[in-house]
């Protein structure tokens, strides 16, 4: 009858193992606790950065693919955060925009407060002359030329930079305006880089 006891023992061990197994939600909670326990503030990177807002929590839970109704709810809420310029002028200086697009500084613990860049080339193709571009996001070459140089399209570009999640709930693109990374003027300069007919992006 030794085999019977071994079988019972194995069954008990398996059950105990299954009971001990946590579901994904439990590991997500553990992850939030682990990072809060293990990280510390440095420079401008404070610990509140580890608190997920609702968007981050939902996008994490659904691995960036939430059900359509939930995605729409998120996008609508993000749309409400967009602050348009009071003068409703969306275009700054594309030459300043070009520098901002190429700059990868800002918001890290090794950056001074106020240092700011768009990090655009990290993820996007922009000027056709620049071959050092990333592919995390779609190519933006010819952005204005392809769409037309209208004020509606200027506003669209401005809004995309301010909060891309208003259009794509779990987008990889940071919310440059909403997060306080870029000022209104800086977003206008980047909008000009995308939308000015004289910008290299549209040549």
């Amino acid at each position: 009858m030794k085999t019977k006891w071994i079988a019972t023992g194995v069954a008990a061990a398996v059950l105990a193992g299954c009971a001990a197994m946590k579901d994904e939600a439990a590991y997500r909670r553990e992850a939030a606790e682990a990072v809060k326990r293990d990280f510390h503030a440095r420079g401008i990177a404070t610990m509140d950065r580890l608190n997920q807002d609702e968007l981050q929590r939902v996008c994490t839970e659904y691995n960036n693919n939430p059900p359509p109704a939930l995605a729409k709810k998120i996008e609508d809420a993000q749309f409400e955060t967009i602050k348009l310029p009071a003068d409703r002028k969306f275009m700054g200086d594309w030459k300043v925009g070009a520098r901002l697009a190429a700059s990868g500084v800002g918001m890290t613990w090794s950056d001074k407060p106020g240092a700011a860049g768009g990090s655009c080339y990290n993820c996007h193709q922009l000027s056709p002359q620049q071959t050092s571009f990333g592919t995390m996001g779609p190519s933006l070459t010819g952005f204005g030329k392809k769409r037309g140089f209208s004020t509606e399209n200027q506003q669209y570009a401005y809004m995309r930079i301010y909060n891309s999640k208003a259009f794509t709930a779990c987008s990889s693109m940071p919310r440059f305006g909403h997060s306080g990374t870029l000022t209104e003027q800086q977003i206008k300069d980047l909008t000009a880089y995308l939308m000015d007919p004289n910008s290299p992006v549209n040549k």
Binding site: Y27, E30, W109, G134, S172
Partner: protein, 272 residues
């Protein structure tokens, strides 16, 4: 204007969808030159200098207890270095926790030699002419797993839990830019500028997270380990700073290490 009115106005202007950019890095002269240089350098990798230094540190009596690290158990028994690196992180019964290679080395420096963890953690990364001792030692230890298959264990329940925790942390979106590790390392065929981004969630690409580390980094001419690489990733993610040799780092190294199992480790590498 509501969002829908705005989108409708845009649709009326009939803008075209953006074209996808080419996915593999274009013939970027800088990358090409570096790859040629790397091929030459790998024949005589500067990392070998730190392998020698690390071996010295392993065998020399040091610290308040005037002991060597030759009794340090890296998971295969006291003093067994060969093959240990590719089987880390793993569970250690003496501490009841899963530890990664560098963390275990530091544990031995503290328990066997009497060094202070807090002192080590004050300056844990290389810069200029300074290489912390754990970095030299982990370079030596890693070299002793050269040409062996990555075999991070998952036999103990805590090892499996650590992998799960690592996976959850890997996907945790947070910070002002909403980044998780997966934002950059969770998709195929992406790159940041001209730096290709392997998808660490996939078995065939995850080895890029393991192979080549510890690595001699050309930028600055320093030796860096995975503890440094994890730290610098979180900096660029716009997170606050992870604790050196913390559970979070072990969990991430477990996740990526297990995902890399089966691939042959070539020893310390060269990085840009």
């Amino acid at each position: 204007m509501t969002k829908y009115a705005f989108v409708a106005a845009l649709a009326a202007l009939a803008w075209t969808a953006p074209a996808p950019a080419q996915t593999t890095a274009p013939a970027d002269p800088t990358t090409e030159e570096f790859e040629k240089f790397r091929a030459v350098m790998e024949d005589a990798n500067p990392a070998e200098l730190w392998e020698v230094k690390g071996e010295q540190l392993w065998k020399t009596r040091r610290g308040p207890k005037n002991a060597s690290l030759e009794q340090c158990d890296l998971g295969l028994g006291p003093g067994v270095v060969k093959g240990a690196y590719v089987q880390l992180p793993r569970y250690f019964p003496d501490v009841g926790k899963v530890m990664d290679a560098e963390r275990r080395i530091v544990h031995c420096m503290v328990t066997l030699q009497g060094f202070s963890f807090e002192e080590i953690a004050k300056r844990p990364f290389s810069s200029g002419n300074y290489t912390p001792d754990p970095v030299s030692i982990v370079t030596f230890v890693a070299a002793q797993s050269r040409d062996m298959k990555i075999a991070v264990p998952q036999s103990h329940p805590k090892e499996r839990e650590t992998w799960e925790l690592g996976k959850a942390i890997f996907h945790y979106r947070a910070g002002p830019w909403d980044f998780s590790c997966a934002t950059c390392h969770g998709e195929d065929g992406k790159r940041i500028r001209t730096q290709n981004l392997p998808n660490f969630t996939k078995h065939d690409q995850a080895p890029r997270s393991f192979i080549g580390w510890p690595g001699y980094r050309m930028t600055g001419g320093v030796m860096h380990s995975l503890q440094w690489r994890m730290n610098d990733c979180f900096r660029q993610q716009r997170f606050p700073e992870p604790g050196y040799a913390s559970d979070t780092i072990t969990a991430l190294l477990s996740y990526m290490g297990v995902n890399s199992n089966g691939f042959v480790y070539k020893g310390p590498g060269i990085k840009r």
